[in-house]
Symmetry: D2
Subunit: 365 residues, 4 copies
């Protein structure tokens, strides 16, 4: 990954800030003949607006994606077919009114990248979050929608498994519940909805915020993707997830828990299945051994920090080096981690698609 491009054969370059006229991405290296519809992409994008609930700040943006290149339209007039050339996708920013940023433009909000931007670049676009805006993630989700089509049989799904100090009960895990209209949290545990709702209402009313942990599961990943120590599949998944805003930690399989248990408990035993395929008796490894997929589900988790945009005044400094107290005004998003679920799915899908092509390139399989 370098600059604003990630992936080696399936390559995604994203561009755009929240307050410019548009943002988008270029997907380069997509195989020819991949079929998808605008709706496939739009459905993924719409997942980023879960539940129309009171728990997520409502943007007015339609987030309507346009495909500008790299495809021809099939005879049905709807299906797009990739030609093997770069696929450019764009989402226009409908509402670019610059609100009055006034003094906030000169203040460094604690926990935000304001200060780091200024030190690095010497100037910045103080409108919205610049490149760090949550809107940028739409590009990732659009690219991920195409990545999902490349590996036959691949299914990548995500779930919120904890929010602040509250966690789901894994015994209740139900993938089907995630898309439910009564589920504003991407939780796979129906029993957790009320718990999360009450908890987050309290957070919201107190003007505070809270983080979350997201789990991504990829089924149908062929064995053999990745490489022993560099270009490990888990490494590239970790890199992709760490590139998401506000992510502070990544785990593969049982992750940090592996450091606490014994070698006997941790190593996944194998037996031969009736179909001539090996069966793993557990999946602590998260589907990856020595950097290479084993055919088990690939499992990754990542931690999203609480947003620093809170209603409590916080100590900071401004551009002139003066001490100031900074407070976010207006609506705020008490748990930005909720939205991170489809983004995490997209980033994992992109990593797997890239390694699928790389493996095919090196081995012909």
């Amino acid at each position: 990954m370098s600059h604003n491009t990630f992936g080696h054969l399936f390559r995604v370059t994203t561009w755009g800030e929240s307050h410019g006229p548009a943002l988008g991405c270029v997907v380069d290296g997509c195989p020819p003949g991949i079929r998808f519809t605008l709706k496939d992409i739009q459905d993924e994008l719409d997942k980023r607006k879960p539940g129309q609930s009171r728990f997520v700040t409502q943007r007015r943006e339609p987030d309507e994606v346009k495909v500008l290149s790299g495809v021809i339209t099939d005879e049905d007039g709807e299906t797009l077919i990739s030609t093997g050339t770069p696929i450019s996708m764009m989402i226009e920013n409908v509402d670019q009114r610059s609100k009055d940023y006034g003094e906030i433009a000169r203040q460094y909000r604690p926990g935000h990248a304001d200060y780091a931007y200024d030190v690095k670049y010497g100037l910045r676009d103080h409108r919205g979050g610049g490149r760090s805006s949550a809107r940028e993630t739409a590009s990732r989700v659009a690219a991920g929608a195409i990545a999902r089509k490349i590996v036959p049989g691949l299914v990548v799904r995500g779930a919120l498994v904890s929010m602040g100090v509250k966690s789901i009960d894994r015994a209740n895990w139900d993938w089907d519940f995630i898309g439910s209209a009564e589920n504003p949290f991407f939780t796979p545990d129906a029993g957790s909805v009320q718990v999360f709702a009450d908890y987050l209402d309290g957070i919201r009313k107190s003007g505070s915020s809270v983080g979350a942990v997201i789990e991504i599961v990829a089924e149908g990943v062929p064995a053999g993707l990745g490489a022993p120590i560099y270009a490990k599949l888990d490494q590239d998944i970790a890199s992709n997830l760490m590139s998401i805003n506000a992510v502070k930690g990544v785990e593969i399989g049982n992750g940090f828990e592996a450091a606490r248990i014994s070698g006997e408990e941790n190593a996944d035993e194998m037996r031969m299945g009736n179909d001539g395929q090996p069966i793993f008796l557990s999946n602590n490894a998260g589907g990856i051994l020595g950097g290479i997929s084993t055919g088990q589900d690939v499992i990754a988790r990542f931690a999203v920090k609480p947003t620093s945009s809170i209603l409590t005044p916080r100590k900071s400094i401004d551009k002139d080096g003066k001490d100031v107290d900074v407070m976010t005004k207006g609506r705020h998003d008490p748990c930005v981690g909720i939205r991170a679920v489809p983004i995490g799915e997209a980033m994992v899908a992109c990593a797997i698609a890239d390694h699928y092509l790389r493996h095919r390139g090196q081995t012909g399989r």
Copy 2:
């Protein structure tokens, strides 16, 4: 990171297996005029043989590094000066006797990459761990020794902060204790030595193994390194650390803890210092905001799983698809995480050196 090369301007390509004639790396992109000695590199390599203790398998290998290119020798006859061309370093494997691998060559050891290698490549070098061998990490440490010289004032140090279910007391943190002769664990807490020793003796005697968590702290990282969302400094550190064998999780700053606490608690407040430099009142961010270093200490942690080479028989299969029970014979290393400390330091140093050059390239600062 692609294939066996990592870094963008400070680029490291490693090669070699544990049972070939040698292993090594090529460091490309090193600035000209960097001064170092063979001893600088050797000292780092020797850190991987801590304490000559009973807790770490003793190799007979001297791990003596040779510098084959990319330097001239200063008039003192000892100091090497980089010329700006690729620096090739090699470590010969003195003891290449192939022991009798016999049936183990046909069996897939649970928790090892044996099966994944065979599925990916269709063949493998069954002697030792192939590329996944711990010996490969010598290349990283050698490259890291040069990376440390590139950023003026940079100090990168690591410590083992937990082993299995035992953790250090952070109140006792003492960097100077880590190099002490009485410290076979890279622990910064003198009080933990006896605890770890007793614990690991039990693990070793029972033929079991245990994992560890390592913390790396980089001081003297200039503010401004990294980029907002891709090529984030934390992302590249995470990628580098995840490329180390047996690593299953990575955190930056307070990491997964950030997902549990509130926005007020998590965001690091700022005040103006007397020297005209900002002071952060805490460092939950681990020295990185929005992917860019802030000038605070950069802090990362990673989890190393317990080795799967244990003396207890484990269920597995062999190449012919037959069910077998696999048991590691001979000596084993009860906690491979101990050795991971200097490797983690090296990988963080390489990431920082690379971003230092990239930042200088883009901004001229």
Copy 3:
């Protein structure tokens, strides 16, 4: 250079076909604080419509560029200032009416990439030239307009030095004449205009076509850019120029002539100048020795083949494997090489800007 991205620190990714809704590029890695106007870019783009002459097919396309990201607007309301984040530029295709391609869509035009596309991808967008369209080069020119701003004092200019069997008289070289309204050919020799005009009229009337040789001269290139054998400045210039459609050869300095003359004649002698800077007594090397710029003018030439779209029937086959005779209908461009001048300038400017940043990254100078 990989896929549709070129450059290492100053990176350009282009996308778009001639018959889609738009085309464009993403410029990644631009230093922050670079100042330019839309007019700067548009002026370069307009150079690709030289002279409104009868010698160049007239498109109706305005080729109006939009800058979608990566800049803020200065207080004058016109000057754009790069922020250091990706600069996305887009040019909409006004006229996308698909004319009736009918049988031509099934025929392989000799000398075109039709057959190669079908073999590679198994399908193609038969409207226009796909990615090989001359319109794609607008992206390069737009990126080049920014590249020109990065290296202080850099001036990159190009000239057509031969067309088919006709060549300029170098004794008459006058850079100022190139922009003249009476010069539809980018020739630096006023005396050649009538010669080229008569020659090309003949070519055009006979339904034939002819190639050209273009020379690019970069003044103000600092000494020290490039690298000894890979990442040579001349190599990256050659690669960039060879990526232009229809280019079949590239030379640096005296190029192929160097293979014909003796070592004494070829090596450029040096003397010390009064200003303490070395003076080269000739410039056969084209400003590059051992892959590294010397401070002399950097000089490159490239050969553009005659377009294969001619009015004479030519033998070919179609998708069904039947022998056919193919003839281009309608207007055609008798010398596509004319338009290649500003494209060549842009590609050389991009290579130099990239190496300027890379050199600064490695050496700090």
Copy 4:
């Protein structure tokens, strides 16, 4: 291509100077299961010592290659089989005695990279040619020997087609003659040997030097390799050839000649062959259309300048900025282009192998 690595999936990183202890390369991304012998590589390396003739400076170096990693040995004890991990190859420099470079170390030889190195890096290894040494090309030839094995049916051969003002008669082209013991020039025209010998004797005796043009022909290149405008096969071949020392120009197919002839003459017509494969009636395109191979022979030519190491004093300056006259002493090589033939073959083979894997990655074919 970046720094000292070239290729995208078949990646070669070279290291080493002429006067260090060794030089070599790391071949990364080689498919597993590729079979070759040390002799395969050594035979290619030995081609660089053609004819033991008086026309080429004799090094005492055996240039014996060692393969240090990435292979297992087959049961025959000789055949090496790639494992898919990095293949490290090394050639030790037997004779490292540093002769007395004395004043030459402070003088800038005209036409050499001495001055450019000093400006770029601020220091250099003045022994031998540093990275620009002809010895470095051994690494390329070794890598090329492996590249040749990757594409089934690929044959890459080269020939010297002109030397100074003398050219071969193409009517006499005989590939088999090139390996003949009576052929010290890699010429495919037996009739040219005496002409070249007399010509070069004159050059040698006068203490002068002369350049050459080399042609590389690759047979058995599958149709479909490359990409439309960036990552064009011809572009990457050009880049690879331009990375060779002393190369000043590159052509594909008829190259610069294409700029002189008409569109009718230039475009290669097609007819359907009896075997269901298209037949091209000519090959002006050099086997590449729109950046993609067509299945015809791929043809490239490159121009090598005369060495600047000549026995005639030449004007120059030294490090202190003083005017000096520089003269090479001792033996010299009157036509370095002769040795460039196997190097050119290797670089073309590497480009084709890389694109073969990339094409397979993207399309699965």
